[in-house]
Amino acid sequence: MNVLNQIWDFFASVKLAIFTLCTLAVTSIIGTVVPQGEPAAYYVQNYGIKLARFIDVLDFSKMYYSWWFLGLLGLLSANLIICSIERLPRVWRLITADNGDVAAENLKKMTLSRTWTTTADQPPLSGDQCRKLLEEAGWKPAARKDRQGNLLFFSQKGRWSRLGVYFVHLSILVIFLGAIVGHFTGFKGSIMIPELNLAEKIFSSKNQSTIDLGFAIRCNSFAIDFYKNGMPKEYQSSLTVIEDGKEVFTKTIEVNSPLQYRGITFYQSSYQGYKDFIFTITDESDGDAKTFSVPFQKQFTWQDKQVRFGVVNAEALGQRVTRSKIWFKYGDSPAVSKWLDDNTTEVFDVGTGRFAVSVKQMYATGLQVAKDPGVWIVYLGCLLMLLGLYMAFFMSHKKIWLHFSEKNHSSELILAGSVNKNRFSFTSQFEKIEEHIDKNVTT
């Protein structure tokens, strides 16, 4: 039993907490210096065979998920749990105990304590006056008789603040729980969807295996908006969720504004430009419109309308096409060709036909896909931590007593106060009440 006790004490000790926090802080540095998640060959190349083996054995290449780092986090959790089990009952008693039950001589011994004695010819304060004094200072005194039958007013504030530290400690466990739930029930992945295409599966970022979404997501269009200086201003994808062949809804997503469906979130993360073009052609005579994706310098035909078209030339800034030269032919009329800025519409009058043609470079939108049912637990933990920190540092458990007794033609008034921290501000509150009583009592 003795050994068990020792083990228990070891896990309950703050020494262990300091050791663990220190070790976590120091070892965490490793992963910021050694690049994470590279293939084994990278480490051999950059660190030499010997060091690379060392890195491999200690999992430095993915150290924040290594057995020993997770072990340290586990140790921290065990420490937190056992330390709290050890201390909470005592704290609970401090909170729920009858804190008012203190004898007069003990009140006099408190650090914050003051006694007034009034002689027989001075009228003493009445019970009501005592109560009012405390009420005016913002307390809600409850009257009681002490063991000698004397009148005692007691009031306390902020006793629950004693739980603040435990909320902070619990919050760390809640955050860990959220991370674990997310790890086992969620996934992270990504997918590139070319415009007009749809995807029902994504690629897991863990191992590139495919994950079935259970519905399909279609990229209707992708666009980049630029600042005047050429920097990208916003990436936007119009996405449609399709389930059982039916379109459920459409949303335009941007960075910082994802789409969410059935607990799965789609984030705008990257894009890829193609050498293909998206044509949207409207026959102005009857309003028929159709969209095509057309490879560069390939001729394409809209059978129903006897229309043939293609991109014969294009100008690009890097990967981004700025304008393209369209070749357009209707029936037997002679072909027309024109330069069009990317993503603009122009009307082509060809023989008897009149067509509105818009053309843009084809993109694929790169989406980050995540399902993380644990994230709300993590957020709850974060809130709990902030609440706990506030309680631990800005609130305190304050107690105040006013004891009133009469003996041998004189009466005695004892004011006493105690606080578990932030003594300074409580002292000034206490002194205010003292002054107040000074004004009302002549000794």
């Binding site: 703050v14 020494k15 907490a17 300091i18 926090l21 220190c22 976590l24 802080a25 965490s28 540095i29 992963g31 910021t32 210096v33 994470q36 924040y64 991370a179 992270k188 600042y227 005047k228 200086n229 920097m231 990208p232 201003k233 916003e234 990436y235 941007e254 960075v255 910082n256 994802p258 979130t265 984030y267 705008q268 993360s269 980050q368 896909v369 995540a370 993380d372 994230v375 993590v378 957020y379 974060c382 931590m385 902030l386 920190l389 506030y390 540092f393």
Partner: protein, 280 residues
């Protein structure tokens, strides 16, 4: 008036305030203390207007965003938070000599922002990932924490300079508050910083989740902020539960600030990651 002129005036006024605080310490002339406080406050007001104006200017350029988005703007904001956090401490503890150890940080930050050639002062547009209200919450919370840690380190230095009664102490240090008081303010300032750093890490995580779907990705800057957080957590425990006080806490406040500086500044230049300040 342009924001850059106002911020230039701010730099000089912070220098003046710093010199006044040092003079107050050396010559022990209480009138100087009033001037020092007044100049600090004026500098802070001018800086507030300067930062506000920069915000307006960004809208005039058609790329409106809060002035908290690159290295230059963040260093300016750092100085701003140091000044206001210091003024609050001065008002609370009614001791002016601390200014001689706090305001140099505000001045140095402004001087670095103004004169360094490493960092660009132009108002530049925001890449898509930075266009989020969480950016403001994240930067503000982090920097209030950093400012508190800077001042705590200044207080730690004061503590170390002050010798115990009876030991030979330099005449300047005799004008510091008592060791017991210094120790207490250092601790409180660190606690204050710790709360804000916690909030800063949390707002950063929420933001990352709304932009990428991952609230924590162990990017070097995130990791360093966590290292700093662990460090201050262990300092609080060492003090609260193991009774460490005085010299060890003073030393920890200085080491903690070194970790803050590395998180804020070193990571950008020595390590690579998601955070964009390095590129500014």
């Amino acid at each position: 008036m342009e924001s850059s002129q106002l911020l230039g005036i701010t730099t000089l006024t912070y220098l003046l305030a710093t010199l006044l605080y040092v003079a107050l310490l050396v010559f022990k002339a209480p009138q100087l203390g009033k001037f020092a406080t007044v100049f600090t406050f004026i500098a802070w007001l001018v800086q507030t207007v300067g930062i506000g104006l920069r915000w307006v200017e960004s809208y005039q350029l058609g790329i409106g965003h809060a002035p908290l988005t690159n290295m230059y703007e963040s260093v300016v904001f750092f100085a701003w938070t140091i000044a206001i956090v210091y003024l609050i401490i001065e008002w609370k503890v009614k001791t002016k000599v601390i200014g001689a150890f706090a305001m140099p940080f505000a001045f140095l930050a402004m001087a670095y922002a103004s004169f360094s050639t490493d960092i660009s002062k132009t108002i530049s547009p925001l890449v898509p990932a930075l266009q989020s209200n969480w950016l403001i919450a994240h930067v503000v919370t982090c920097f209030v924490g950093y400012a508190a840690f800077a001042i705590a380190a200044g207080l730690g230095v004061m503590y170390l300079l002050k010798k115990d009664d009876g030991e030979k102490t330099s005449f300047l240090a005799t004008r510091f508050p008592e060791k017991r008081v210094l120790d207490d303010i250092t601790h409180k300032t660190m606690v204050f910083g710790f709360i804000w750093l916690s909030a800063g890490i949390i707002t950063g995580a929420v933001w990352a989740n709304s932009a990428w779907g991952t609230y924590w990705s162990w990017d070097p800057k995130e990791t360093w902020s966590l290292i700093t957080w662990f460090f201050y957590a262990l300092t609080l425990h060492a003090r609260y539960t193991r009774g460490w006080a005085g010299k060890p806490i003073a030393l920890l406040s200085i080491f903690g600030f070194i970790s803050v500086l590395f998180t804020y500044y070193g990571v950008n230049f020595l390590l690579s990651g998601l955070h964009s300040y390095g590129s500014g």
